[in-house]
Amino acid sequence: MLLAAAWLAAGSVAAQQVTLERDSPLYTEPRLDAAQVTQLKLGATGEVIGKQGAWLHLKTPGGSGWLFSFNVRFPSAQAATGDSGAGAAAGRLFGPRRNVSVTSTVGIRGIEEEDLKQASFNAGQMKLLESYAATREAAERQARGSSLAPASVEFMDPKK
Protein backbone atom coordinates (compact mmCIF):
# COMPACT_ATOMS: atom_id res chain seq x y z
CA MET A 1 0.00 0.00 0.00
CA LEU A 2 2.90 2.29 0.72
CA LEU A 3 4.11 1.85 -2.80
CA ALA A 4 0.63 2.39 -4.15
CA ALA A 5 0.30 5.58 -2.16
CA ALA A 6 3.66 6.79 -3.39
CA TRP A 7 2.78 5.89 -6.94
CA LEU A 8 -0.46 7.78 -6.79
CA ALA A 9 1.37 10.84 -5.52
CA ALA A 10 2.15 11.61 -9.15
CA GLY A 11 2.11 15.31 -9.63
CA SER A 12 3.52 16.12 -6.24
CA VAL A 13 6.68 18.18 -6.38
CA ALA A 14 8.93 16.12 -4.14
CA ALA A 15 12.55 16.03 -5.28
CA GLN A 16 13.19 13.51 -8.03
CA GLN A 17 16.66 12.48 -7.07
CA VAL A 18 18.77 10.17 -9.18
CA THR A 19 22.13 8.51 -8.70
CA LEU A 20 24.85 8.26 -11.34
CA GLU A 21 25.33 4.68 -12.45
CA ARG A 22 28.67 5.51 -14.06
CA ASP A 23 30.95 8.49 -14.60
CA SER A 24 29.23 10.79 -17.02
CA PRO A 25 29.57 14.32 -18.39
CA LEU A 26 26.90 16.90 -17.69
CA TYR A 27 26.26 18.87 -20.89
CA THR A 28 25.03 22.41 -21.41
CA GLU A 29 22.50 21.10 -23.94
CA PRO A 30 20.88 17.71 -24.59
CA ARG A 31 23.49 16.75 -27.18
CA LEU A 32 26.57 14.56 -26.91
CA ASP A 33 28.62 17.22 -28.72
CA ALA A 34 27.53 20.08 -26.48
CA ALA A 35 29.92 21.78 -24.08
CA GLN A 36 30.37 20.12 -20.71
CA VAL A 37 29.23 21.74 -17.49
CA THR A 38 31.10 19.24 -15.39
CA GLN A 39 32.08 15.61 -15.17
CA LEU A 40 29.92 13.68 -12.71
CA LYS A 41 31.24 10.64 -10.92
CA LEU A 42 29.65 7.27 -10.29
CA GLY A 43 27.46 7.57 -7.20
CA ALA A 44 26.94 11.32 -7.53
CA THR A 45 23.37 12.49 -7.13
CA GLY A 46 21.29 15.13 -8.81
CA GLU A 47 17.75 16.39 -8.96
CA VAL A 48 15.75 15.88 -12.14
CA ILE A 49 14.09 19.07 -13.29
CA GLY A 50 13.04 17.98 -16.75
CA LYS A 51 13.40 15.46 -19.56
CA GLN A 52 13.77 15.55 -23.29
CA GLY A 53 14.06 12.41 -25.34
CA ALA A 54 17.06 10.44 -24.09
CA TRP A 55 18.08 13.27 -21.78
CA LEU A 56 17.42 14.36 -18.23
CA HIS A 57 17.77 17.96 -17.13
CA LEU A 58 19.66 17.67 -13.90
CA LYS A 59 20.48 20.03 -11.03
CA THR A 60 23.66 19.08 -9.21
CA PRO A 61 25.94 20.79 -6.69
CA GLY A 62 28.37 21.34 -9.57
CA GLY A 63 25.80 23.06 -11.76
CA SER A 64 22.79 22.28 -13.90
CA GLY A 65 22.87 20.58 -17.26
CA TRP A 66 21.82 17.63 -19.36
CA LEU A 67 22.68 14.02 -18.67
CA PHE A 68 22.28 10.96 -20.88
CA SER A 69 19.37 9.30 -19.09
CA PHE A 70 20.79 5.80 -19.39
CA ASN A 71 23.53 6.75 -16.96
CA VAL A 72 21.36 7.27 -13.90
CA ARG A 73 19.10 5.15 -11.74
CA PHE A 74 16.08 6.26 -9.82
CA PRO A 75 15.91 5.17 -6.20
CA SER A 76 13.99 1.95 -5.77
CA ALA A 77 10.69 1.93 -3.99
CA GLN A 78 12.20 -0.53 -1.56
CA ALA A 79 14.73 2.05 -0.44
CA ALA A 80 12.10 4.70 -0.03
CA THR A 81 11.24 5.65 3.51
CA GLY A 82 8.48 7.65 5.07
CA ASP A 83 5.96 9.35 2.88
CA SER A 84 8.41 11.18 0.67
CA GLY A 85 7.71 8.71 -2.07
CA ALA A 86 11.27 8.85 -3.31
CA GLY A 87 10.78 5.47 -4.90
CA ALA A 88 8.12 6.95 -7.09
CA ALA A 89 10.45 9.53 -8.60
CA ALA A 90 10.63 7.56 -11.82
CA GLY A 91 6.88 7.21 -11.72
CA ARG A 92 6.42 10.94 -11.40
CA LEU A 93 8.68 11.58 -14.32
CA PHE A 94 7.68 8.75 -16.64
CA GLY A 95 4.51 7.28 -15.17
CA PRO A 96 0.86 8.09 -15.87
CA ARG A 97 -0.70 11.27 -14.52
CA ARG A 98 -3.91 9.59 -13.56
CA ASN A 99 -5.33 7.30 -11.00
CA VAL A 100 -4.89 3.71 -11.94
CA SER A 101 -6.65 0.77 -10.44
CA VAL A 102 -4.00 -1.87 -10.79
CA THR A 103 -1.14 -0.17 -9.03
CA SER A 104 -3.43 0.44 -6.11
CA THR A 105 -3.72 -3.30 -5.77
CA VAL A 106 -0.01 -3.88 -5.45
CA GLY A 107 0.42 -6.88 -3.22
CA ILE A 108 -2.40 -8.76 -4.84
CA ARG A 109 -1.00 -11.79 -6.48
CA GLY A 110 -0.90 -11.90 -10.26
CA ILE A 111 0.09 -14.65 -12.64
CA GLU A 112 3.33 -16.39 -11.92
CA GLU A 113 5.39 -19.11 -13.46
CA GLU A 114 3.41 -21.88 -11.77
CA ASP A 115 0.18 -20.48 -13.16
CA LEU A 116 1.57 -20.53 -16.66
CA LYS A 117 2.78 -24.08 -16.19
CA GLN A 118 -0.59 -25.25 -15.03
CA ALA A 119 -2.87 -23.26 -17.29
CA SER A 120 -4.63 -24.94 -20.15
CA PHE A 121 -5.67 -23.57 -23.50
CA ASN A 122 -8.66 -21.26 -23.22
CA ALA A 123 -10.50 -21.55 -26.52
CA GLY A 124 -13.09 -18.91 -25.65
CA GLN A 125 -10.51 -16.28 -24.80
CA MET A 126 -8.47 -17.16 -27.88
CA LYS A 127 -11.55 -16.61 -30.03
CA LEU A 128 -12.02 -13.25 -28.34
CA LEU A 129 -8.37 -12.33 -28.89
CA GLU A 130 -8.66 -13.18 -32.56
CA SER A 131 -11.78 -11.07 -32.90
CA TYR A 132 -9.82 -7.96 -31.92
CA ALA A 133 -7.25 -8.23 -34.71
CA ALA A 134 -6.67 -4.95 -36.53
CA THR A 135 -6.47 -4.66 -40.29
CA ARG A 136 -3.57 -2.86 -41.87
CA GLU A 137 -5.96 -0.08 -42.89
CA ALA A 138 -7.34 0.38 -39.37
CA ALA A 139 -3.82 0.54 -37.98
CA GLU A 140 -2.75 3.11 -40.57
CA ARG A 141 -5.84 5.21 -39.98
CA GLN A 142 -5.22 5.40 -36.24
CA ALA A 143 -1.56 6.24 -36.82
CA ARG A 144 -2.49 9.10 -39.15
CA GLY A 145 -4.94 10.35 -36.55
CA SER A 146 -2.08 10.57 -34.06
CA SER A 147 0.21 12.30 -36.59
CA LEU A 148 2.56 9.33 -36.64
CA ALA A 149 4.73 9.52 -39.73
CA PRO A 150 6.85 6.48 -40.59
CA ALA A 151 10.57 7.19 -40.37
CA SER A 152 13.49 5.38 -41.91
CA VAL A 153 15.62 4.10 -39.02
CA GLU A 154 18.25 1.39 -39.33
CA PHE A 155 18.56 -1.39 -36.78
CA MET A 156 21.28 -0.91 -34.21
CA ASP A 157 24.26 -3.05 -33.41
CA PRO A 158 25.25 -3.77 -29.85
CA LYS A 159 28.21 -1.78 -28.58
CA LYS A 160 31.32 -3.14 -30.23
Partner: protein, 320 residues
Protein backbone atom coordinates in the same frame (compact mmCIF):
# COMPACT_ATOMS: atom_id res chain seq x y z
CA UNK B 1 3.79 -40.48 -44.96
CA UNK B 2 1.12 -43.11 -44.46
CA UNK B 3 -2.17 -42.42 -42.81
CA UNK B 4 -1.49 -45.08 -40.17
CA UNK B 5 1.82 -43.52 -39.30
CA UNK B 6 0.27 -40.08 -39.08
CA UNK B 7 -2.28 -41.52 -36.71
CA UNK B 8 0.44 -43.04 -34.57
CA UNK B 9 2.19 -39.71 -34.28
CA UNK B 10 -1.01 -37.94 -33.40
CA UNK B 11 -1.78 -40.55 -30.77
CA UNK B 12 1.68 -40.30 -29.26
CA UNK B 13 1.42 -36.57 -29.15
CA UNK B 14 -1.95 -36.67 -27.48
CA UNK B 15 -0.73 -39.12 -24.87
CA UNK B 16 2.23 -36.93 -24.09
CA UNK B 17 -0.02 -33.94 -23.86
CA UNK B 18 -2.90 -35.51 -21.99
CA UNK B 19 -2.59 -32.70 -19.49
CA UNK B 20 -3.72 -30.28 -22.08
CA UNK B 21 -7.08 -31.36 -23.33
CA UNK B 22 -7.39 -28.21 -25.35
CA UNK B 23 -4.19 -29.01 -27.18
CA UNK B 24 -6.50 -30.73 -29.60
CA UNK B 25 -7.04 -27.30 -31.08
CA UNK B 26 -3.55 -27.56 -32.45
CA UNK B 27 -2.43 -30.13 -34.95
CA UNK B 28 0.71 -31.08 -33.11
CA UNK B 29 1.09 -34.05 -35.33
CA UNK B 30 1.69 -31.62 -38.12
CA UNK B 31 4.15 -29.51 -36.20
CA UNK B 32 6.22 -32.46 -35.22
CA UNK B 33 5.70 -34.19 -38.49
CA UNK B 34 8.52 -36.65 -38.74
CA UNK B 35 8.94 -35.91 -42.36
CA UNK B 36 10.04 -32.43 -41.41
CA UNK B 37 12.40 -33.29 -38.59
CA UNK B 38 15.60 -32.71 -40.43
CA UNK B 39 14.40 -29.47 -41.89
CA UNK B 40 13.29 -28.21 -38.48
CA UNK B 41 16.66 -29.05 -37.01
CA UNK B 42 18.32 -27.26 -39.88
CA UNK B 43 16.06 -24.27 -40.36
CA UNK B 44 13.50 -24.21 -37.58
CA UNK B 45 9.75 -24.24 -37.90
CA UNK B 46 8.20 -22.88 -41.04
CA UNK B 47 5.83 -19.98 -40.72
CA UNK B 48 2.65 -22.02 -40.50
CA UNK B 49 4.14 -24.19 -37.79
CA UNK B 50 5.44 -21.16 -35.97
CA UNK B 51 1.97 -19.64 -35.91
CA UNK B 52 0.39 -22.88 -34.70
CA UNK B 53 2.90 -23.21 -31.86
CA UNK B 54 2.41 -19.56 -30.93
CA UNK B 55 -1.35 -19.90 -30.90
CA UNK B 56 -1.14 -22.83 -28.51
CA UNK B 57 1.20 -20.96 -26.19
CA UNK B 58 -0.87 -17.77 -26.28
CA UNK B 59 -4.05 -19.77 -25.65
CA UNK B 60 -2.51 -21.33 -22.57
CA UNK B 61 -1.45 -17.93 -21.31
CA UNK B 62 -5.06 -16.83 -21.72
CA UNK B 63 -5.89 -19.85 -19.59
CA UNK B 64 -3.81 -18.30 -16.79
CA UNK B 65 -5.31 -14.83 -17.15
CA UNK B 66 -8.19 -13.74 -19.37
CA UNK B 67 -8.32 -10.56 -21.42
CA UNK B 68 -9.32 -7.29 -19.77
CA UNK B 69 -13.08 -7.03 -20.48
CA UNK B 70 -12.72 -3.76 -22.41
CA UNK B 71 -13.20 -4.43 -26.14
CA UNK B 72 -12.32 -0.86 -27.14
CA UNK B 73 -9.04 -1.11 -25.27
CA UNK B 74 -8.20 -4.43 -26.90
CA UNK B 75 -9.00 -3.10 -30.36
CA UNK B 76 -6.90 0.00 -29.71
CA UNK B 77 -3.87 -2.03 -28.60
CA UNK B 78 -4.26 -4.16 -31.72
CA UNK B 79 -4.16 -1.07 -33.93
CA UNK B 80 -1.08 0.28 -32.16
CA UNK B 81 0.63 -3.10 -32.32
CA UNK B 82 -0.24 -3.71 -35.94
CA UNK B 83 1.04 -0.27 -36.89
CA UNK B 84 4.39 -1.09 -35.30
CA UNK B 85 4.46 -4.57 -36.83
CA UNK B 86 3.94 -2.95 -40.23
CA UNK B 87 7.38 -1.39 -39.82
CA UNK B 88 9.03 -4.83 -39.75
CA UNK B 89 9.94 -7.33 -42.43
CA UNK B 90 7.03 -9.53 -41.28
CA UNK B 91 4.14 -7.08 -41.63
CA UNK B 92 1.58 -9.65 -42.64
CA UNK B 93 1.89 -12.27 -39.95
CA UNK B 94 -1.48 -12.79 -38.25
CA UNK B 95 -0.62 -10.28 -35.53
CA UNK B 96 -2.67 -10.46 -32.34
CA UNK B 97 -2.31 -8.23 -29.31
CA UNK B 98 -4.08 -8.54 -25.99
CA UNK B 99 -4.13 -6.99 -22.53
CA UNK B 100 -4.30 -9.66 -19.82
CA UNK B 101 -6.43 -8.97 -16.78
CA UNK B 102 -3.81 -9.46 -14.09
CA UNK B 103 -1.98 -7.09 -11.76
CA UNK B 104 1.32 -8.75 -12.65
CA UNK B 105 3.74 -6.53 -14.52
CA UNK B 106 4.85 -8.37 -17.61
CA UNK B 107 4.53 -8.83 -21.34
CA UNK B 108 4.88 -11.89 -23.48
CA UNK B 109 5.48 -12.80 -27.07
CA UNK B 110 4.74 -16.16 -28.58
CA UNK B 111 5.88 -17.26 -32.05
CA UNK B 112 3.93 -16.27 -35.10
CA UNK B 113 2.62 -12.89 -34.00
CA UNK B 114 1.03 -13.23 -30.55
CA UNK B 115 1.81 -10.43 -28.08
CA UNK B 116 0.26 -10.17 -24.63
CA UNK B 117 0.81 -7.37 -22.14
CA UNK B 118 -0.50 -7.47 -18.59
CA UNK B 119 -2.83 -4.85 -17.22
CA UNK B 120 -0.30 -4.30 -14.41
CA UNK B 121 2.26 -3.15 -16.95
CA UNK B 122 -0.23 -1.38 -19.21
CA UNK B 123 -1.47 0.82 -16.37
CA UNK B 124 2.10 1.84 -15.53
CA UNK B 125 2.44 3.41 -18.95
CA UNK B 126 2.08 7.14 -19.47
CA UNK B 127 2.04 7.41 -23.25
CA UNK B 128 1.46 5.51 -26.46
CA UNK B 129 5.18 5.81 -27.18
CA UNK B 130 5.90 3.80 -24.03
CA UNK B 131 3.38 1.20 -25.17
CA UNK B 132 5.08 1.23 -28.57
CA UNK B 133 8.43 0.51 -26.93
CA UNK B 134 7.03 -2.46 -25.02
CA UNK B 135 5.17 -3.88 -28.03
CA UNK B 136 8.21 -3.20 -30.21
CA UNK B 137 10.36 -5.31 -27.92
CA UNK B 138 7.90 -8.20 -28.12
CA UNK B 139 7.50 -7.84 -31.87
CA UNK B 140 11.29 -7.93 -32.07
CA UNK B 141 11.37 -11.40 -30.49
CA UNK B 142 8.83 -12.63 -33.01
CA UNK B 143 10.39 -11.04 -36.06
CA UNK B 144 13.80 -12.38 -35.09
CA UNK B 145 12.30 -15.84 -34.44
CA UNK B 146 14.23 -16.01 -31.18
CA UNK B 147 12.30 -19.03 -29.97
CA UNK B 148 12.83 -20.93 -33.17
CA UNK B 149 16.54 -20.23 -33.03
CA UNK B 150 16.76 -21.50 -29.48
CA UNK B 151 15.09 -24.67 -30.62
CA UNK B 152 17.45 -25.05 -33.52
CA UNK B 153 20.46 -24.60 -31.32
CA UNK B 154 19.35 -27.40 -29.12
CA UNK B 155 21.56 -30.41 -29.01
CA UNK B 156 18.40 -32.38 -28.35
CA UNK B 157 17.02 -31.47 -31.72
CA UNK B 158 20.29 -32.36 -33.35
CA UNK B 159 20.19 -35.71 -31.62
CA UNK B 160 16.68 -36.18 -32.86
CA UNK B 161 17.81 -35.40 -36.35
CA UNK B 162 20.54 -37.99 -36.04
CA UNK B 163 18.02 -40.50 -34.78
CA UNK B 164 15.94 -39.78 -37.84
CA UNK B 165 18.91 -40.46 -40.04
CA UNK B 166 19.11 -43.90 -38.53
CA UNK B 167 15.50 -44.44 -39.31
CA UNK B 168 14.23 -44.73 -35.76
CA UNK B 169 11.30 -42.45 -36.04
CA UNK B 170 9.68 -43.51 -32.78
CA UNK B 171 12.67 -42.25 -30.83
CA UNK B 172 12.71 -39.16 -32.93
CA UNK B 173 9.11 -38.25 -32.19
CA UNK B 174 9.55 -38.79 -28.48
CA UNK B 175 12.67 -36.70 -28.47
CA UNK B 176 11.00 -33.86 -30.26
CA UNK B 177 8.04 -33.87 -27.92
CA UNK B 178 10.00 -34.40 -24.72
CA UNK B 179 13.24 -32.55 -25.16
CA UNK B 180 11.80 -30.13 -27.66
CA UNK B 181 9.58 -28.96 -24.84
CA UNK B 182 12.63 -28.24 -22.72
CA UNK B 183 14.10 -26.21 -25.50
CA UNK B 184 10.99 -24.12 -25.80
CA UNK B 185 10.84 -23.66 -22.03
CA UNK B 186 14.45 -22.69 -21.56
CA UNK B 187 13.84 -19.01 -22.18
CA UNK B 188 16.07 -16.63 -23.97
CA UNK B 189 19.53 -15.62 -23.05
CA UNK B 190 20.40 -12.04 -22.25
CA UNK B 191 21.72 -11.42 -25.73
CA UNK B 192 18.28 -11.98 -27.22
CA UNK B 193 16.66 -9.71 -24.64
CA UNK B 194 19.12 -6.93 -25.31
CA UNK B 195 18.57 -7.36 -29.03
CA UNK B 196 14.80 -7.12 -28.57
CA UNK B 197 15.33 -3.91 -26.58
CA UNK B 198 17.32 -2.38 -29.45
CA UNK B 199 14.67 -3.51 -31.94
CA UNK B 200 11.90 -2.08 -29.75
CA UNK B 201 13.55 1.34 -29.81
CA UNK B 202 14.02 1.25 -33.58
CA UNK B 203 10.50 0.01 -34.35
CA UNK B 204 8.94 2.70 -32.17
CA UNK B 205 11.03 5.30 -34.00
CA UNK B 206 10.10 3.85 -37.40
CA UNK B 207 6.44 4.02 -36.43
CA UNK B 208 6.80 7.74 -35.71
CA UNK B 209 6.93 7.53 -31.92
CA UNK B 210 9.55 8.90 -29.58
CA UNK B 211 12.26 6.23 -29.60
CA UNK B 212 12.64 6.53 -25.83
CA UNK B 213 9.36 5.08 -24.61
CA UNK B 214 10.97 1.73 -23.84
CA UNK B 215 13.79 3.50 -22.01
CA UNK B 216 11.28 5.24 -19.80
CA UNK B 217 9.54 1.97 -19.06
CA UNK B 218 12.85 0.39 -18.08
CA UNK B 219 13.49 3.31 -15.72
CA UNK B 220 10.04 2.80 -14.22
CA UNK B 221 10.74 -0.89 -13.73
CA UNK B 222 14.23 -0.36 -12.37
CA UNK B 223 12.69 1.79 -9.67
CA UNK B 224 10.11 -0.79 -8.66
CA UNK B 225 10.98 -2.86 -5.67
CA UNK B 226 12.30 -6.32 -6.40
CA UNK B 227 10.08 -7.48 -3.57
CA UNK B 228 6.95 -6.18 -5.24
CA UNK B 229 5.00 -9.37 -5.81
CA UNK B 230 3.57 -8.16 -9.08
CA UNK B 231 7.07 -8.21 -10.53
CA UNK B 232 8.09 -11.58 -9.17
CA UNK B 233 8.09 -13.41 -12.47
CA UNK B 234 9.69 -10.51 -14.24
CA UNK B 235 12.69 -10.27 -11.95
CA UNK B 236 13.06 -14.01 -11.77
CA UNK B 237 13.53 -14.54 -15.47
CA UNK B 238 15.18 -11.51 -16.97
CA UNK B 239 18.22 -9.33 -16.90
CA UNK B 240 17.71 -6.53 -14.41
CA UNK B 241 16.15 -3.42 -15.98
CA UNK B 242 19.23 -1.45 -14.92
CA UNK B 243 21.48 -3.77 -16.88
CA UNK B 244 19.21 -3.46 -19.88
CA UNK B 245 19.38 0.33 -19.62
CA UNK B 246 23.16 0.20 -19.64
CA UNK B 247 23.25 -2.08 -22.68
CA UNK B 248 20.68 -0.05 -24.55
CA UNK B 249 22.39 3.22 -23.71
CA UNK B 250 25.72 1.95 -25.03
CA UNK B 251 24.12 0.86 -28.28
CA UNK B 252 22.28 4.16 -28.62
CA UNK B 253 25.17 6.55 -28.01
CA UNK B 254 26.34 6.60 -31.62
CA UNK B 255 22.76 6.97 -32.86
CA UNK B 256 21.21 9.37 -30.42
CA UNK B 257 21.85 12.48 -32.48
CA UNK B 258 20.27 10.93 -35.59
CA UNK B 259 17.10 9.47 -34.15
CA UNK B 260 13.93 11.43 -34.90
CA UNK B 261 12.22 13.05 -31.93
CA UNK B 262 8.92 11.38 -32.74
CA UNK B 263 5.49 11.76 -31.19
CA UNK B 264 4.24 10.91 -27.73
CA UNK B 265 0.47 10.49 -28.19
CA UNK B 266 -1.71 9.89 -25.16
CA UNK B 267 -2.38 6.29 -24.30
CA UNK B 268 -5.95 5.03 -24.09
CA UNK B 269 -6.73 4.29 -20.45
CA UNK B 270 -8.51 1.15 -19.37
CA UNK B 271 -12.23 1.90 -19.16
CA UNK B 272 -12.65 3.13 -15.57
CA UNK B 273 -15.81 1.05 -15.25
CA UNK B 274 -13.72 -2.10 -15.63
CA UNK B 275 -13.36 -3.75 -12.22
CA UNK B 276 -9.80 -4.39 -11.01
CA UNK B 277 -8.43 -7.82 -11.87
CA UNK B 278 -9.31 -10.53 -9.42
CA UNK B 279 -6.43 -11.76 -7.33
CA UNK B 280 -4.96 -14.89 -8.72
CA UNK B 281 -5.39 -17.93 -6.56
CA UNK B 282 -2.07 -19.24 -5.31
CA UNK B 283 -0.77 -22.08 -7.43
CA UNK B 284 -0.43 -23.85 -4.08
CA UNK B 285 0.52 -27.46 -3.96
CA UNK B 286 2.05 -29.33 -6.81
CA UNK B 287 -0.62 -30.71 -9.02
CA UNK B 288 -3.18 -28.16 -7.95
CA UNK B 289 -5.03 -26.57 -10.79
CA UNK B 290 -4.70 -22.86 -10.42
CA UNK B 291 -6.42 -20.36 -12.58
CA UNK B 292 -8.02 -22.77 -14.91
CA UNK B 293 -10.60 -21.09 -17.02
CA UNK B 294 -13.45 -23.53 -17.19
CA UNK B 295 -11.24 -26.23 -18.58
CA UNK B 296 -12.47 -29.56 -17.46
CA UNK B 297 -10.82 -32.91 -17.21
CA UNK B 298 -7.24 -33.90 -17.72
CA UNK B 299 -4.44 -34.30 -15.25
CA UNK B 300 -2.29 -31.36 -14.32
CA UNK B 301 1.08 -32.20 -15.68
CA UNK B 302 2.37 -34.85 -17.95
CA UNK B 303 5.45 -36.77 -16.82
CA UNK B 304 7.58 -35.10 -19.41
CA UNK B 305 6.46 -31.66 -18.31
CA UNK B 306 4.26 -31.15 -21.30
CA UNK B 307 5.05 -29.33 -24.45
CA UNK B 308 5.30 -25.88 -22.98
CA UNK B 309 6.26 -26.05 -19.32
CA UNK B 310 6.86 -22.75 -17.67
CA UNK B 311 5.05 -20.81 -20.30
CA UNK B 312 6.87 -22.59 -23.07
CA UNK B 313 7.88 -20.47 -25.97
CA UNK B 314 6.71 -17.27 -24.35
CA UNK B 315 9.12 -14.49 -24.90
CA UNK B 316 8.52 -11.57 -22.63
CA UNK B 317 9.89 -8.17 -22.25
CA UNK B 318 10.12 -9.00 -18.62
CA UNK B 319 8.86 -12.54 -18.53
CA UNK B 320 10.12 -15.16 -20.86
Amino acid sequence: MTGAFRYWIAAAVMIALSAYAAAASLDLGRIFDVGRDLRIAATGLDEKEEIAVGREVAGRTLGAAPLVPDPELQAYVNRVGRWIALQTERPDLPWHFGVLDTASVNAFAAPGGYVLITRGLYEMLASESQLAGVLGHEIGHIVQRHHVKVMQQSAAVSASARAAQHGDRGILVNNLIGTGAEVLARGLDKTAEFEADRIGVVLAARAGYSPYGLVEVLHLLAARSAEDSSLALLFKTHPAPGERLTQLGDALVPRVAMLPAGQEPAIRPVDPRTPPPAAAKPAAAKGARALQQQEEGGSTTSPGGGLFPGGGALRGIFGR
